[in-house]
C-alpha cells in the first residue's frame, strides 16, 4: 500500500519533465530585437560618419593641426604628439557602428532597394577613407563582417584607393561610382526621414558621391596624379551634363550631419556639455594666422571671445592655461548654441578649393582663381557672414583673396584658406597637411610620442586590434612613417 506512493511520486517527476520543453523555452531576448527594418540602420551609419569624424579623431586632428591647444587630459597628450587610446574610435565608431551596420544594410538592400544600397556604398567609401587616411593600411575588403571573417586582413592603402583585382579589392572610386549608379536605379524601398541628411533626395546624394570622387582624387595626387586629373575632369564633364557635385556657394547642398540640442554634437560635449569639459581652447598659432588674414570677423563665429580680445594658448605649453571664463573656445559655428551645429563632411567650399588646387597643379578644367574665390565666399557664407560682409572683406583684402605669385605661392594661398575654412573638420586639414606640408606648422613647445622630432604622419594602430588580429602589421609602423599617399 505504502509502496504504491513511490511510483506515484516518480510519475509526478516525469510529468514535470515532459512539460519541461516549453518550461525552458524562455531564452528569447525580450530586450533586443533579432532583426530590424532597414530604415533604422541608415541613420546609425550616417550619424556614425559624422560622429567618427568629429569625436576623438576630429579632436585629435584639430589639436595636431593647431586649431586648438590641449590643456589637460588626452587633449594635452595629443598636443605633445602622444597618440594613444584611440581604440574606441577604431572599434566602436568606424568598424562597429558605422561599417558593420552598412554591411548589414547592403546585404539587405543590394539588388533591390538601390536607393539604400547607393547611399550605403557612398557612406562606406567615406568611412573607409577616414580609416585609411589616418592609419594607412587597414581592413577593408573583409572588414565589418565578423560573422564571416573573424580576423580581417589589412588591405594596402594603394589597393584601397586604386583597387587590386588580383586580391579582390575594389577601389574606393569604383565603390563610389557603383553607389552613384545605384542611386539612379528604381528602388523597392526608398528612404525619407531616415535619411537625416537629405530627407530622401537622391539627386543630392549623387552630388555627394561626385564630391567624394573629387576629394579622393586629390588625396592620391602625390602618387597617382593621372588618376587625380582623370577623375576630376570626368566629374567636371559629367557635372556639365547630368550629375553635378556639391557646388552651391550658399552651402544648401552640403553633406552636413545634423545634430540638435537633444542630440548634441561631439564638439559641444567635449568642450561644454560632457563630463570632462575645458580640456582644450583656441591655439595661439591659429589665432595669429587669422590675425594676419584680417579674418577676425569669421574667427568670431568659429571661436568665442568672452574677453575683449581672443585669448589663445600655446600648443603643448608647459605653462598654466588662462582661466576658464576668459578662454576662446569653439564658437557657435562648430558647437551651435547647445550642440546643435552640424558636422560638415562634404562642402561646396572644400570642393572649390579642391578644384582650385587641381586646376593649378594638374591643369584640370577651369580657372584656379575663380574656384579659389568661390571657395572663400562659400566658406564665409558657411560661417554665417552676410554678402555685404564678404564683399567688404574682398574689397579690403585684395591680395589675400587673389591668387598671386609662383605656383607654390598660389598653392599655399589655397591651402591656407582651405585650412582656415575647415574648422570643425580638422581631419581634412590633417590629410591636406600630410599630402602637401601646407600650411606651415611650427613644432609644439613639447613633443613626445613615437618620434618627438617628426610630425605624426599617421595614427598608431590600436592595441585591441593588435591583440586579437595577427594580420595587423607588427611591429606597427611608427608615426614617423608616411602613408602611401603622404609626403
Amino acid at each position: 500500500m505504502k509502496l504504491i506512493r513511490i511510483p506515484l511520486l516518480l510519475l509526478t517527476i516525469s510529468l514535470i519533465t515532459s512539460c519541461s520543453k516549453s518550461f525552458l523555452d524562455v531564452n528569447t531576448d525580450p530586450n533586443s530585437p533579432t532583426d530590424v527594418p532597414i530604415k533604422t540602420l541608415l541613420p546609425v551609419s550616417t550619424v556614425g560618419l559624422g560622429w567618427a569624424s568629429s569625436n576623438e579623431l576630429g579632436r585629435t586632428a584639430a589639436i595636431l593641426m593647431q586649431y586648438n591647444a590641449g590643456i589637460s587630459g588626452n587633449a594635452a597628450s595629443y598636443d605633445q604628439w602622444i597618440l594613444s587610446s584611440l581604440d574606441n574610435q577604431w572599434n566602436s565608431e568606424i568598424y562597429h557602428g558605422t561599417l558593420n551596420n552598412l554591411e548589414i544594410l547592403l546585404s539587405k538592400t543590394e539588388g533591390s532597394s538601390f536607393a539604400y544600397s547607393g547611399i550605403a556604398k557612398l557612406e562606406k567609401a567615406y568611412i573607409i577613407s577616414i580609416a585609411t587616411d589616418l592609419w594607412g593600411d587597414v581592413p577593408y575588403t573583409e572588414a565589418g563582417k565578423g560573422l564571416i571573417y573573424p580576423q580581417p586582413r589589412f588591405d594596402l592603402q594603394q589597393d584601397i584607393y586604386l583597387g587590386n583585382s588580383s586580391k579582390g579589392v575594389q577601389s574606393l572610386f569604383s565603390l563610389v561610382r557603383e553607389g552613384i549608379a545605384d542611386l539612379g536605379k528604381a528602388s523597392v524601398k526608398s528612404p525619407s526621414d531616415d535619411d537625416i541628411v537629405y530627407n530622401g533626395n537622391l539627386s543630392k546624394w549623387i552630388r555627394a558621391g561626385n564630391s567624394l570622387l573629387l576629394k579622393f582624387a586629390l588625396q592620391v595626387s602625390n602618387v597617382a596624379p593621372d588618376t587625380t586629373k582623370a577623375v576630376i575632369n570626368a566629374v567636371l564633364t559629367n557635372a556639365a551634363t547630368t550629375t553635378p557635385f556639391i557646388d552651391a556657394i550658399d552651402g544648401s547642398l552640403d553633406l552636413n550631419i545634423p545634430f540638435s540640442s537633444a542630440n548634441p554634437n561631439a564638439y559641444y560635449l567635449q568642450d561644454f556639455g560632457g563630463s570632462i569639459p575645458n580640456t582644450e581652447m583656441l591655439g595661439n598659432r591659429f589665432l595669429a594666422l587669422e590675425r594676419v588674414l584680417n579674418d577676425s570677423l569669421r574667427l568670431s563665429k568659429m571661436y568665442t571671445k568672452p574677453a575683449p580680445t581672443f585669448i589663445g594658448y600655446d600648443n603643448a605649453s608647459p605653462f598654466a592655461a588662462p582661466a576658464i571664463g576668459i578662454r576662446s573656445v569653439y564658437g557657435n559655428y562648430v558647437t551651435g548654441t547647445a550642440g546643435n551645429a552640424p558636422v560638415r563632411l562634404l562642402t561646396a567650399f572644400r570642393n572649390y578649393f579642391i578644384l582650385a588646387e587641381a586646376a593649378l597643379m594638374f591643369g584640370t578644367t577651369g580657372d584656379a582663381n575663380t574656384y579659389y574665390q568661390n571657395g572663400i565666399k562659400a566658406a564665409m557664407k558657411s560661417v554665417g557672414l552676410t554678402d555685404a560682409e564678404i564683399t567688404a572683406y574682398f574689397t579690403a583684402n585684395p591680395t589675400i583673396v587673389t591668387l598671386t605669385g609662383t605656383t607654390a605661392d598660389k598653392r599655399l594661398q589655397i591651402l591656407v584658406q582651405k585650412y582656415v575654412s575647415s574648422v570643425g573638420n580638422a581631419i581634412e586639414s590633417y590629410n591636406d597637411y600630410r599630402r602637401t606640408g601646407l600650411p606651415v606648422l611650427i613644432k609644439p613647445l613639447v613633443t613626445q610620442g613615437d618620434d618627438p622630432n617628426t610630425f605624426p604622419k599617421r595614427f598608431p594602430y590600436t592595441s585591441n586590434e593588435g591583440d586579437a588580429n595577427p594580420n595587423q602589421p607588427s611591429p606597427r609602423p611608427l608615426t614617423n612613417v608616411k602613408v602611401w599617399w603622404g609626403l
Partner: protein, 1079 residues
C-alpha cells in the same frame, strides 16, 4: 539520467525492511528554553538516530529494545535520557563548547548531519557571534570569523555593499558571490547597480536587508563539494542562513526585546598638510583646486597673490576683495573631515515565540535607522517575520515563514569623476577653503550652486553658476533614494510515509521591487546619465527613475529514506532523491529625463529629453534532478555520493542538460582504532571530489540589435534622433553552441581534538579547477564587433584553511575561549583563449586608465594600467630636459588585489556574569589603488606634499646617457611638479598610477564587546528572565604600515572588481550600547 533514477528507485526498495518499532517525539532546548536545532539524537549503543529540525523537534522510530537516548548538539554538552515507556520528551542541554567536533551541522538543502560524517569543510557562526558587534550587516558581521572567506566593504557610507568571495573567484565573467539560502530558500544577494562604473552611489547588496538579530545561525560551505546539491550556483560556495523559529516550552511565551544605539565616526582618513593653502606655484589663486599656494603666514605681496592685483575682484570664502586688499589666508585643518558627520544607528527588535513541540509560532519585528556619515544620507530597515509550524497529524507537518522587508537608502554620489560624483569635489578642496562658510552658503542668491570654483555665466539659466558642484549642494540637491519592498516566504509540507521514508516539498519565493530616484538640480554641474547604458546626457538638471524588480521562485521535492544495519550490522544508509525547479526574473526600467525647466520640480514631466530611458528584462529557468546516498559504518567511516543533472534555459537545447557528481568520505580514526588518549581525543580525516556545472547568463545565443549609441563618458550620442530611431547590431557576437562551464574541486582535510577536546583543529587543503569558462572574448575591432561569446579558459584556486578553537582556561566562574582562523588562497588564470593574454573584467571598461583584468598566468582581477618607462634595471627613466618621468608604457600590471593570507582571532573571557570578546584580524598582502591618495597628493593636500615644500625636489630615477649608460637623476624640480606631475594624478588615462598602489596589509581590532547579564531574580521579577547589557566597539584600531589610508575599501563593492578605492567615503569606527531583555 533515467538509469540513475531507476537505480535510486531500486535502492529505496532494497532499503525497505520491516521491524517492530515505535515513534518518539521530543523537543531539545537549551537551559534558557530556546529550541536547539540540529541536535543529534541517538539510541545508545547503536548508530540509530536522527537530528532535531529547525524547531528543536525530533521525531523518529526506534526499535522496541531501545533503552536510552543520547542527545548532543554543537556547542552544547551531551545528555542521556532513559526511554522507558515515554513517547514524548523535553530535553534540556547546557552550553558546553568542547563538543564542537562532534556536533551537528545543516548541510545542503537544509539537511542536518553529524559533523563527523562530513567529507568536506563547513563552518558555523551562531547568533551571538554576530549580534551586538556594531554592524547590522550580516556580511560585515562575518568579517574575520571565517576561514576561506574574503570579505571587503565598499566604504563607510550608509548601506554600502560588501563583497564576499569564498575560496577565490571561479568564474571569469559571471557572479562570483556565494549562493545565499535562507531557511532552505535561495535568495538574492544581488547588487543592483546600473552600470559597474565610477559614477554612482553605493547601493546595498541584498543580504543587507536581513535582520541579523533574527538569524539563529549561519553555515558557510566554502567549497563546491559541500554545496553541490544546490546546483549550478554551488561552485562559488554557499551561505546557509537559519532564522529563529517559534517554539518554546509548552504554555509559555518567550519574548526577547533588544535595543541598541551606535555612533559612527570616520576613521582612516589620510593625514593632510596644514601649512599651504589655495594656489599654484607658491602663488595664491582664488580659483585654484590646488593647495600649492604660499605658506600660511607669508607676508602678503602682489607677487604671492595675497594682495589683490589691479583689475581683480576675487571672492575668497564668501568675501569679495578689491584691488589692493589683503586676502584673509589661513588653513582650515579639518575642513575635509568636517564634511563628514557623526553617523548614528538606532535599532529595535522584538521576538515572540510560543507553542510546544508540535504546534508553534513566532513573530519577529525589527527596525533600524541609520543616519550616515555623509550629509543627507541614511539607511533604514524595517522587517516583520512570521513563522508557524504544525503537525496536522502524527505524520503530516506543515511549516511556513514569511518575511517582509522595507529598506530605504538615501545617499550621495561617489567616485572619482566630478561630473557625476559629489565626493570627488570634496577631495579637490584646497586647505584654505572655509568649509563652514560653504556649508552654510551652498547656494547662490539665485538658488544655484555656490562654490569657490569661479562662477560662469550660463546662457541657458541667465545667471552665473559655479563650474563645479559644492559638495553640500550636491548632497542636499542631488540625492539618490532607494526604496525597497521585499518578501521572502517559504512553505514546507512533510509527510512520513513510514518510519524510514519521508516525502517533503518545499517552495520558496524571494521577490523585491527597488524604486530608486536620483535627481540633479538645475544649476548643478553633475551630468545626467543613463544608469543602464552609461550614456551621458547634459548638465541641465534631470531625473533618473530606476525600478529594479527581481523574483526567484524555488521548489524542491525531497524523498528521504534511511535505514540502519543494512547488509551487515553497523552499516547505515541514507538516501535522498530530489527534484528542483528554479526561476529567476529580473526587470529594470529606467526613465531618465534631462533638460529640466522648472527648478525644484522633480517629476519626469519636467524634462525635455527622455532619450536615455531604458528597459531590461531577463528570465531564466532551471530544473534539476539530484540524489545523495550516504553510507556510514559503525559511526567512524562515512561515504557520501551526490549526483545532479540540471537543465537550463540559458544554454542551447543540445547542451542544456548537464550532469555533475561528487563523492566525499571521512574516517574517524580515533574511534576506528579505539584510541583512548587525553592528548588525541578525536581524529578524523576527510576528502572529497566534486564537479559543479554552471549555466550561462540569459540571451547569449542569438545575435541581436540594440538602440544605437556612440561615444564614451567624454561625449556620447544616443538614438533616437528626434523621431528617427536607429538600431545597431550588437557589438557582441552570440554563440549558439554554448556549453556549461565547470568547476572541479578536490579537498582534503582533518579534524583533530586534543586534550579532551579542549583544543579543536580543523585543517583543509583544496584545489579547484574552473574550465570551459563562458566569456566574451575580444575580437578584432575591424570585424565590426568587439567581443564574441565563447567557452574558453581555465582558472585554478588552491588554498588552505585552518580553524582552531580552544578553551585554555576554565574554572567555575572564569573561562577563556579562543577561536582562530587562517586561510590562504592562490588563484591563477591558466588559460584564456588562443592568442588572448588579457581582457578586462566583463562590464568594466576602465577607471581612469586602470582596467581590472583577467591576465594569463596571473591571479584574477589584477589591475592593468600605465607604468613609467624603466631601464633593464627597473630604474625609472627621467627626461633629461625637464627632470620629469620620460613617459609611460601602457598595459602593465599595476596592482594585484589578491591577498597572501588572512587570519582572525576571537578571544572570549567570561567572569561570572561578565563577558568580554575581542576579535582581531590580520590581512596580509594584496594591493589597493587609492584614488583618494592620488587626488590629495596631486592637489597638494596630503601631508607628505607639505614637507620641505619650499625645497626643490628630485624624482627618483635615472637619465639615459646613451650606449646603455645611466646616471642618477639630479635635476631639481619644484615641489608642485614633483607631486602633481611626477608622482602622477589619477585623472586621465595618460598618467601613470603606480604611485598610488599600496600594500593593503592591515592589522585590525575589528570588534570588542563587553556584556553583563542580569538574571531575572536579581531584577526581582519573575517576568524578566535575563537582561543583557552590552557595550561594543567596531574597527577601534587599525594598523596599515604600507598605506596612508585605510586599505580595506573596495569602492565597487560586491562584484568582481577588487582593490580599487575610487574616491569613496572613508571607513568608520563604530561604538555603541545594546540592551537585550529576555522575558
Amino acid at each position: 539520467m533515467k538509469q540513475l533514477l531507476l537505480f535510486f528507485a531500486m535502492s529505496l526498495f532494497i532499503l525497505h525492511a520491516a521491524g517492530q518499532s515505535r515513534t518518539l517525539t521530543g523537543l531539545v532546548r537549551d537551559d534558557k528554553g530556546n529550541p536547539i536545532q540540529s541536535a543529534s539524537v541517538f539510541i545508545k549503543g547503536t548508530s540509530l538516530g536522527t537530528v532535531t529540525n529547525a524547531d528543536g523537534v525530533f521525531n523518529f522510530s526506534v526499535p522496541d529494545n531501545a533503552r536510552t537516548l543520547v542527545i548532543s548538539s554543537v556547542g552544547y554538552g551531551s545528555t542521556e535520557v532513559s526511554i522507558g515507556k515515554n513517547l514524548r520528551f523535553d530535553i534540556a542541554l547546557s552550553v558546553a563548547k568542547e563538543t564542537e567536533l562532534q556536533g551537528v551541522v545543516v548541510t545542503a538543502l537544509g539537511i542536518s548531519k553529524a559533523k563527523r560524517t562530513l567529507g568536506y569543510a563547513t563552518q558555523t557562526v551562531r547568533n551571538e557571534d554576530i549580534i551586538d558587534k556594531g554592524d547590522g550587516s550580516l556580511l560585515n558581521a562575518l568579517q574575520g570569523k571565517l576561514a576561506g572567506a574574503e570579505i571587503t566593504g565598499a566604504s563607510g557610507s550608509a548601506g554600502a555593499s560588501t563583497n564576499i568571495i569564498l575560496r577565490g573567484m571561479t568564474s571569469f565573467s559571471f557572479n562570483n558571490q556565494p549562493l545565499f539560502v535562507i531557511d532552505g530558500v535561495p535568495i538574492s544577494n544581488d547588487l543592483d547597480q546600473g552600470t559597474i562604473s565610477l559614477y554612482s552611489d553605493q547601493s546595498a547588496n541584498r543580504s543587507m536587508d536581513l535582520n541579523i538579530n533574527n538569524i539563529e545561525s549561519v553555515n558557510v560551505m566554502q567549497g563546491p563539494a559541500a554545496a553541490a546539491l544546490y546546483g549550478s550556483r554551488a561552485s562559488r560556495g554557499a551561505i546557509i542562513i537559519t532564522t529563529k523559529k517559534g517554539s518554546g516550552k509548552k504554555n509559555t511565551v518567550n519574548v526577547v526585546y533588544n535595543t541598541s544605539y551606535t555612533i559612527q565616526k570616520i576613521y582612516g582618513f589620510p593625514e593632510l598638510q596644514n601649512e599651504y593653502g589655495q594656489g599654484a606655484n607658491g602663488i595664491f589663486s582664488s580659483i585654484s583646486t590646488f593647495s600649492y599656494g604660499p605658506r600660511v603666514g607669508s607676508t602678503p605681496t602682489l607677487a604671492n597673490g595675497l594682495i589683490v592685483a589691479p583689475g581683480q575682484n576675487p571672492v575668497v570664502n564668501g568675501v569679495r576683495y578689491n584691488p589692493g586688499d589683503v586676502i584673509a589666508y589661513q588653513d582650515f585643518p579639518s575642513n575635509l573631515e568636517d564634511y563628514f558627520e557623526t553617523g548614528t544607528m538606532l535599532e529595535n527588535n522584538l521576538t515572540i515565540n510560543s507553542g510546544d513541540a508540535r504546534n508553534n509560532y513566532g513573530l519577529s519585528v525589527g527596525s533600524s535607522k541609520q543616519d550616515g556619515i555623509l550629509p543627507n544620507s541614511s539607511f533604514k530597515k524595517n522587517n516583520v517575520q512570521f513563522s508557524a509550524s504544525s503537525y496536522l497529524t502524527d505524520r503530516l507537518s506543515i511549516k511556513g515563514t514569511a518575511t517582509y522587508f522595507n529598506t530605504i537608502q538615501q545617499g550621495v554620489t561617489q567616485g572619482s569623476n566630478g561630473a557625476y560624483s559629489s565626493i570627488a569635489r570634496l577631495f579637490s578642496t584646497p586647505r584654505s577653503i572655509d568649509m563652514g562658510y560653504y556649508k552654510d552658503h551652498y547656494t547662490t542668491p539665485g538658488g544655484y550652486n555656490n562654490w569657490y570654483v569661479p562662477n560662469v555665466f550660463s546662457s541657458v539659466l541667465k545667471d552665473s553658476i559655479s563650474a563645479a558642484d559644492n559638495p553640500w549642494f550636491a548632497a542636499y540637491k542631488n540625492p539618490i533614494k532607494s526604496n525597497l519592498s521585499r518578501l521572502i516566504g517559504a512553505l514546507t509540507i512533510s509527510y512520513d510515509l513510514n518510519n524510514w521514508l519521508n516525502v517533503s516539498y518545499r517552495a520558496g519565493i524571494d521577490t523585491y521591487t527597488d524604486r530608486r530616484k536620483r535627481t540633479v538640480a538645475i544649476g548643478s554641474t553633475q551630468v545626467v546619465r543613463s544608469t543602464s547604458t552609461g550614456a551621458s546626457g547634459t548638465t541641465t538638471g534631470g531625473i533618473m527613475e530606476d525600478m529594479f524588480y527581481r523574483s526567484e521562485l524555488n521548489g524542491d521535492l525531497l524523498i528521504t529514506a534511511k535505514k540502519n544495519d543494512i547488509f551487515i550490522p553497523g552499516l547505515n544508509a541514507n538516501l535522498l532523491l530530489g527534484q528542483g525547479v528554479n526561476q529567476r526574473k529580473f526587470q529594470n526600467i529606467s526613465e531618465v529625463g534631462y533638460g529640466l525647466t522648472v527648478p525644484g520640480y522633480y517629476n519626469i514631466t519636467n524634462s525635455t529629453n527622455l532619450s536615455l530611458s531604458n528597459e531590461t528584462n531577463t528570465l531564466r529557468r532551471l530544473f534539476g534532478y539530484y540524489g545523495q546516498l550516504s553510507l556510514g559504518y559503525n559511526n567512524y567511516l562515512f561515504l557520501e555520493m551526490t549526483a545532479r543533472n540540471d537543465h537550463s534555459s540559458t544554454l542551447p537545447k543540445k547542451h542544456n542538460s548537464f550532469f555533475y557528481p561528487s563523492v566525499s568520505g571521512s574516517f574517524v580514526f580515533t574511534d576506528a582504532f579505539k584510541i583512548k588518549s587525553d592528548l588525541l581525543s578525536f581524529g578524523k580525516v576527510r576528502m572529497s571530489y566534486a564537479k559543479v556545472g554552471n549555466d550561462a547568463d540569459p540571451y547569449l545565443l542569438s545575435n541581436v540589435y540594440a538602440s544605437a549609441s556612440y561615444g564614451n563618458n567624454v561625449a556620447s550620442y544616443s538614438f533616437p534622433y528626434g523621431t528617427v530611431s536607429g538600431f545597431s547590431a550588437s557589438s557582441t557576437i552570440a554563440n549558439p553552441d554554448l556549453r556549461p562551464e565547470f568547476t572541479i574541486s578536490k579537498e582534503f582535510g582533518a579534524n583533530i581534538g586534543l586534550f579532551k577536546n579542549a583544543i579543536n583543529i580543523d585543517a583543509t587543503y583544496y584545489s579547484q579547477l574552473s574550465k570551459d569558462q563562458i566569456i566574451s572574448v575580444a575580437v578584432p575591432g575591424s570585424t565590426g564587433y568587439t567581443t564574441k561569446i565563447a567557452n574558453l579558459g581555465k582558472m585554478t584556486n588552491k588554498g588552505i584553511e585552518l580553524t582552531v578553537t580552544a578553551t585554555p582556561f576554565k574554572t567555575k566562574d572564569f573561562s577563556w575561549t579562543l577561536s582562530g582562523n587562517f586561510s590562504a588562497n592562490r588563484n591563477k588564470v591558466v588559460e584564456i583563449a588562443p592568442g588572448v593574454t588579457s581582457f578586462g573584467i566583463t562590464g568594466v571598461t576602465s577607471f581612469s586608465g586602470n582596467i581590472p583584468s583577467i591576465v594569463k598566468g596571473k591571479p584574477y582581477g589584477v589591475i592593468v594600467g600605465g607604468k613609467y618607462i624603466t631601464n633593464a634595471n627597473g630604474d625609472r627613466l627621467i627626461d633629461s630636459t625637464t627632470g620629469s618621468y620620460l613617459g609611460f608604457v601602457a598595459n602593465q600590471i599595476v596592482a594585484d588585489p589578491n591577498k597572501d593570507w588572512i587570519a582572525g582571532l576571537t578571544n572570549t573571557f567570561t567572569y561570572k556574569n561578565f563577558s568580554l570578546s575581542v576579535l582581531l584580524d590580520y590581512k596580509k598582502g594584496g594591493d589597493v589603488e587609492s584614488f583618494t591618495v592620488a587626488a590629495l597628493r596631486a592637489n597638494g593636500s596630503l601631508k607628505e606634499t607639505g614637507v620641505d615644500r619650499d625645497q626643490p625636489k628630485i624624482l627618483p630615477g635615472v637619465i639615459d646617457m646613451g650606449g646603455g649608460k645611466y646616471r642618477n637623476n639630479n635635476i631639481q624640480i619644484p615641489a608642485q611638479t614633483y607631486w602633481n606631475a611626477g608622482f602622477g594624478a589619477q585623472t586621465g588615462g595618460a598618467n601613470s598610477n603606480e604611485f598610488v598602489v599600496f600594500d593593503a596589509t592591515c592589522f585590525r581590532v575589528r570588534e570588542l564587546s563587553i556584556s553583563y547579564d542580569l538574571l531575572g531574580n536579581a531584577v526581582g521579577t519573575k517576568l524578566i528572565k535575563n537582561v543583557r547589557l552590552t557595550v561594543y566597539g567596531r574597527n577601534l584600531f587599525f594598523y596599515a604600515p604600507n598605506c596612508p589610508v585605510d586599505p580595506e575599501l573596495s569602492t565597487q563593492g560586491a562584484g568582481n572588481v577588487r582593490g580599487m578605492e575610487l574616491l569613496s567615503a572613508p571607513n568608520t569606527r563604530n561604538m555603541g550600547v545594546s540592551l537585550r531583555v529576555n522575558f
